[in-house]
């Protein structure tokens, strides 16, 4: 194929153009509405929709925030309270219309509409007036987003926020032309600004993307746009997916699975040389942890929680998540791959725990026969992990009852106000690669209940103050030091047991190239995948 353009990064070889890439998806629906999407910058939506900034993710390198529609990643003049972005020249939608700053503003505004809730909404509480704003459909506009001219957009924040450039990479920062906005249909038929547009959308069956004729490669440094067409096959059973990819025949050679390969299949792939070659495992990324409900009975006692830190059998947990390929043992809250992480271990023990120590701590706390409930999601992998925890604690005389509930109920319990559980196993991948994303959502007291993810229901004024201070810090180095300090401080209270830094494995067909999975985010970078031609 003559149409080979050398890739800027170069580390994964050139990008061949052409072919139809198939992405196998377990979900039965893809929501292309930027206001409602929680997509990462480098996955599905990134193929169709551009934002102010985006992520440059390369194998072996930490994720970087880079300009997308904007010429840079935003400028601030007042220490992070006001951010200004300028759009590049010659940007067009698929229909040929020009992309304007007003469209970006409109896109942000509509993300405030209750009709379109559901997306990533970090900006909603940061922007001035955001808390009260109810979207553009009632006629009002959001004054804190200014568009002095067609190319410039200015954000006024309530407080200084150093990670705003990351926020600007979220789906809500996609331009939406007001004239084309039909909130009912936008999720299936968005106005494309990226290299692909939605050609056909069949709910539950497939989504076909084809090239956007008006996308200009020169304005875009992150998307390589290799395949001519991309087809998402929806509602695919994960086991069948894996088998198709292992078999690697026909069109499946140009396919990859969007979901993790399950441990059972990992073992199978181990034994299959061809498939093993096509398995891509991320570096250790998201944190999986055991949350201890700090507001419940004996668990209020820090000694008891520390006993649990020692009693947990991390090795069994690791095996339950697929062994070494499933993740590395964890001891900190900030995950590898996040700038400023400091490695330490407050509760040093053998990988399978220190039962004697745990028992001793329990005796000190006066707890001889502890009975706890562990809330677990009811899918097989989650239950396997929960059982590994249960088994570990049992050794120290802690009787754990597993309460399996479905995923939605789990979310509701964990992020709801009641908090009717003692323990739960969770895993957290921040929405943007900053220690802030590691710590704040999980440990700030403001995140207890009401939809927040502080599943340990941990409330420590000292930590809250640290978080506030670190969030406002615009100097990356200083901020990172503060986050590392918070990390350690939190673990002293033992609200969670860090279990593993998980690794996600993905399988792709033999024709798929430039397929890699970084530590953050531990997902394949859709934007650079291409197909071998000929």
């Amino acid at each position: 194929n003559p149409d080979v353009t050398p890739d800027a990064g170069g580390s994964t070889g050139g990008t061949e153009k052409g072919g139809t890439l198939t992405i196998l998806n377990a979900a039965s629906d893809i929501n292309f509405d930027p206001a409602k999407s929680q997509n990462l910058a480098i996955t599905t939506l990134g193929l169709v929709l551009r934002r102010l900034t985006t992520w440059e993710v390369q194998p072996g390198k930490a994720a970087q925030v880079v300009p997308d529609l904007a010429t840079d990643t935003g400028k601030t003049t007042d220490g992070g309270k006001t951010w200004t972005f300028t759009l590049k020249d010659g940007l067009k939608y698929a229909d040929g219309a020009a992309i304007t700053a007003a469209d970006v503003k409109y896109g942000i505004e509509r993300s405030f509409a209750p009709e379109l809730s559901g997306g990533l909404g970090y900006h909603k509480s940061l922007l001035v007036g955001g808390a009260e704003y109810k979207g553009p459909y009632s006629g009002a506009d959001l004054a804190s987003v200014e568009t002095p001219d067609a190319k410039t957009i200015v954000f006024h924040l309530k407080t200084a926020y150093g990670d705003w450039p990351w926020i600007a990479s979220m789906p809500a920062f996609t331009p939406v032309p007001k004239a084309k906005d039909d909130p009912k249909k936008y999720s299936q038929n968005p106005v494309a600004s990226g290299p692909y547009q939605v050609e056909s959308y069949q709910q539950g069956v497939s989504v076909k993307l084809s090239r956007n004729p008006n996308w200009d490669t020169t304005t875009d440094q992150v998307r390589t746009a290799g395949p001519d067409n991309i087809v998402f096959q929806l509602g695919q059973d994960t086991t069948v997916q894996s088998q198709r990819l292992i078999a690697d025949s026909g069109d499946d050679r140009s396919a990859f699975g969007a979901g993790f390969v399950a441990p059972a299949q990992l073992a199978q792939i181990e034994q299959n040389a061809s498939a093993k070659q096509r398995l891509v495992t991320s570096d250790a990324g998201a944190l999986s942890y055991l949350a201890i409900n700090t507001q419940r009975g004996p668990l209020k006692d820090v000694k008891v929680r520390q006993a649990i830190e020692y009693a947990v059998d991390k090795r069994a947990y690791q095996v339950a998540s697929g062994g070494a390929i499933g993740g590395d043992l964890a001891s900190t809250l900030i995950t590898p791959g996040i700038a400023g992480r400091v490695d330490y271990n407050l509760y040093p023990a053998d990988p399978s725990g220190d039962v004697a120590k745990a028992k001793q701590l329990l005796t000190e706390a006066g707890q001889s026969s502890l009975k706890l409930t562990l809330l677990s999601e009811n899918d097989q992998p989650s239950l396997a992990k929960s059982q590994a925890i249960q088994q570990g604690l049992q050794r120290a005389g802690i009787t754990v009852t597993i309460k399996p509930v479905d995923e939605e109920a789990w979310t509701a319990e964990v992020s709801g106000d009641k908090g009717d559980y003692d323990l739960t196993v969770a895993s957290w991948q921040p929405d943007f690669p900053s220690a802030n994303g590691n710590i704040q959502p999980l440990f700030a007291s403001s995140e207890i209940g009401g939809g927040g993810y502080n599943s340990a229901r941990y409330s420590q004024p000292e930590v809250d103050a640290l978080i506030e201070q670190a969030t406002a810090e615009t100097d990356p180095a200083k901020a990172q030091a503060l986050w590392a300090q918070a990390d350690k401080r939190i673990l002293q209270d033992a609200p969670v047991v860090p279990l593993t830094y998980t690794k996600n494995s993905f399988l792709h067909g033999s024709k798929v190239q430039n397929f890699f999975v970084p530590a953050f985010p531990a997902y394949p970078n859709y934007l650079k995948v291409s197909l071998k031609q000929g």
Binding site: T239, P263, A264, A316, G323, L383, A384, Q387, Q391, V405
Partner: protein
């Protein structure tokens, strides 16, 4: 002949003695003559013994179904060695990802599964037969109400109900009982419908009329006249139901109403093992084989019972 001496008025009653024993003995003799049925009965007895003696059996093997043995696993969580880790220590090998002893799991699983499978089946069949019989026999508004209830239950989003239930019931409730209850509630309508349909036909037979004409009350007619003619349906239906109840037990376990892990249950083991069917087939073979054999045993026994109850096959050798 002299009728008057023979036909004295009924003598005063005597306490009931072994009146029914001959019937039972006949049944048993016929059953014993059928070697397939005997095999089935043997199988059922075997599994019952296994279920009762599970702790003993696993103790003999020196194992229990809860202890992890990570040393028996390779780094990726698959059992080391041949046939899913079969060894002198682990007779059936070990469970992938945990290293728990599969023999102990299967043996202990028999408790849950047979209790739940047979229990839920028994309750649903009992309920279904009683409701179906009475509805078909009495008809009228009662039948209409019952039919509607059956329709509601059959058309009911059982999945959602169970999810809700799983979240509502306190963890302290004995889960096996809950499970039996849930399975029975959703299991009886179909058998009730079948029985009702057959009752509608049977109740118009002359022998039922004859019994009514003798002054038999509804209950007597139901139990003594109709029920014996429904045994084939009931037995066949029950034996089919047991394995599906064990399967449903697995599904419900996932939804949070089943016996929570790590309590072993065949249904859940089979569910877990499906994903491993290519990597560690023995993980499926042992619990799956146990379920198959138990099902086979119940079915053979069922077929045998069916035949033993069927007077027309008396004396037939097989």
């Amino acid at each position: 002949m002299s009728a008057d001496t023979h036909l004295a008025p009924p003598a005063p009653s005597r306490p009931p003695s072994q009146a029914r024993s001959t019937g039972a003995r006949h049944l048993w003799r016929r059953l014993a003559a059928d070697r397939w049925a005997l095999a089935g009965a043997g199988g059922v007895a075997f599994f019952l013994v296994v279920a009762v003696a599970a702790p003993l059996l696993s103790a003999i093997a020196g194992q229990d179904p809860y202890t992890y043995d990570l040393d028996a696993l390779s780094d990726s969580g698959t059992p080391k060695g041949f046939g899913g880790g079969i060894s002198a220590e682990h007779w059936f090998g070990v469970e992938p990802m945990t290293g728990r002893d599969l023999f102990a799991i299967v043996v202990h699983g028999a408790r849950t599964s047979i209790l739940v499978g047979a229990g839920a089946t028994a309750v649903s069949v009992l309920l279904g037969v009683v409701v179906g019989l009475t509805a078909g026999f009495y008809g009228g508004w009662y039948d209409r109400v019952v039919t509607r209830i059956i329709d509601v239950l059959l058309g009911f989003p059982y999945l959602i109900f169970v999810i809700a239930l799983g979240a509502i019931v306190p963890t302290s409730l004995p889960k096996s009982l809950l499970l039996v209850g849930v399975l029975a509630v959703f299991g009886w309508p179909s058998i009730a419908r079948v029985i009702r349909g057959q009752t509608l036909e049977l109740k118009r037979r002359t022998f039922v009329l004859a019994s009514t004409a003798l002054g038999a009350g509804g209950w007597h007619v139901l139990v003594r006249q109709l029920l014996p003619n429904l045994t084939a349906t009931i037995i066949v239906y029950s034996t089919i139901m047991i394995p599906s109840m064990i399967g449903a037990e697995a599904a419900l376990s996932f939804l949070g109403v089943g016996v929570p892990p790590p309590t072993p249950a065949w249904g859940r083991s089979i569910g877990d093992a499906i994903g491993w069917v290519q990597t560690d087939p023995m993980f499926l073979v042992f619990p799956g084989g146990a379920l198959f054999l138990a099902t086979l045993a119940f079915n053979l026994l069922g077929d045998g019972l069916r035949d033993a109850f069927d007077p027309k096959t008396r004396g037939l050798r097989r």
